[in-house]
Amino acid sequence: MEFLAFLLRRLGWSLLVLLGLSVVIFTIARVVPGDPARMALGPTASADQVASLQESLGLNDPMFQQYATFLHGLARGDLGRSLLTEQSVTADIAKTFPATLELVICTILLAFALGVPLGVAAARWKDRWPDNLVRALAIGSAVMPTFFLALLLQILAGYVLNVLPTTGRLPGGIDFDAGWTGLVLVDSLIAGRGDVFLEAVRHLFLPTIALAAATMGQIARITRASMIDVSRQDYIEAARAFGVPDRLRMFKYMLRPAFVPPLTITGLEFASLIGNAFVVELIFSWPGMASYGIRAIVQKDLNAIMGVVMVSGVFFVVVNLMIDLLVGVVDPRVRIRGSRA
């Protein structure tokens, strides 16, 4: 019951955030310099042609009306037409987004699966070698730019060792239409294509590591600090005084309350993760939203820009909503009272 209220509250907030985002995107797209109609038609088009395209795009309508039209389309999942591809933006994005989604999901899973145990180990052996190693790793991954790590991995694993593929989602020889979810890992399993699944994993390997490193370092660092903080709490000493075994104290009594900060930080980091995903996609020729988005920006393809940013924004909000709910599951204080204090 209280969980339902908590859920509804968070959902309401997310909707508000998205509405705000739509305003921001709309405004930014209007104030950046350059005339989209002129850019679409090219320098040779006549002033008349430009004026009539402006008219048909509704660029001469009052701002408020333009926004209303934008919002109306948004509500129906209609992001307008791309001036470049002359396709519906929604369809364009639907083609490229699943690849980005797959990369980002794998990244978060990997960052968590490695970051949390590393942080726990560092806290457990504080100031001993595991701690020093983890701290060095965390700092290293934080200061190393993602594009640099991506190139390094590509050169090392791809060309020097020549063990892993360095571009694309699947080898050219494999013809697999990811029809159901658009996620190759999932679809290949549904289709029972073990070979495709293995290839997909091999292709995901390098981009995922490149993208996950920074987030993993952050998660490890925060988990460590959080575990050390919790280990000093009276309730941990009490558990010890009552003979609760070491391992149980570590993985239940400490990890559970210590788990919220790494979750929260992941939500916050998610924005830069999306940005880095674009870089990684370019380097590994990953067929995600990146190249579409970048071309849209360079060409001032208004609808496409707004579409890409809006989808990234929704992605961000949905991930943070899920994280909020997870935090609520992990920490009853948040669920019942709305805060940890």
């Binding site: 709490q233 009276d234 309730y235 000493e237 009490a238 558990a239 010890r240 005084a241 009552f242 003979g243 609760v244 075994p245 149980l248 239940k252 009594y253 559970r256 309350p257 992990v330 920490d331 009853p332 204080r333 019942i336 009272r337």
Partner: protein, 272 residues
Amino acid sequence: MTALLSVRNLDVSFTTYGRRTQVLRDVSIDVPEGAQIALVGESGSGKTVLMKTVMGILPQPPAKVEGGAILFDDRDLLTMPERDRLRLRGTAMSMVFQDPMSSLNPVFTIYDQLGTILKHADRRLGRQRGRRERWARVLEVLEQVRMREPERVARSFPMQLSGGMRQRILIAMALLSEPRLLIADEPGTALDVTTQAQILNLLRDLVTRQNLALLMITHNLGVVRETSTYTYVMNQGRIVEQAPTAEIFAAPREAYTRELIAAVPRLTGRAT
């Protein structure tokens, strides 16, 4: 007569940043079976360190037991195998934690925490107790500490309960495995005066009814008068005076004790 708990000539030091400080010097204390003993001393005199040493939860390092013995049932806790010591901890001897706000894990229900402690105490003692019996035992101790609606309380998270209720849960926690010795480190000092008085009453009743030995640690002599028959006075890590409680109040020998007594009206309020 040998006591249930007998601390003999205990020396404990702390080393921080290379500097060694003697925190307990030649401390000797006896707690006979079923007796109610008080240990008083001002803040920083070493009371908590003594209790932690007895319970075996002193952080070592920085702490170090330099010498002495702690006999429980005539066996030295300091030299017995760790396994045997673990078997006693939280079972035959257990402690009531001081701060009801910070001594319960905020993310687990009361039953989860008490049940886990009980399960592992049972395991150490080689006892069998099923899920349902465990639940029944937790409700039983919650009733012993006069908790109304024990089932609801057992399913609650700490933050859903008042400070007084949480302090009673800390007492219930100590009672789970039928201890013979209870060490209480200033229970209830974080609570308001009325609630604190209720907690002390409850403790006194429980101790007499279940014939437990109680070592009450406090810097409040008002508490001492109400909860003990024999008193040790501690100052800067030493026992400076010891006598039956009535005598201490009637004719304190040490100037330090007289000062503590003089401070009683102030201290019976909300202690710091």
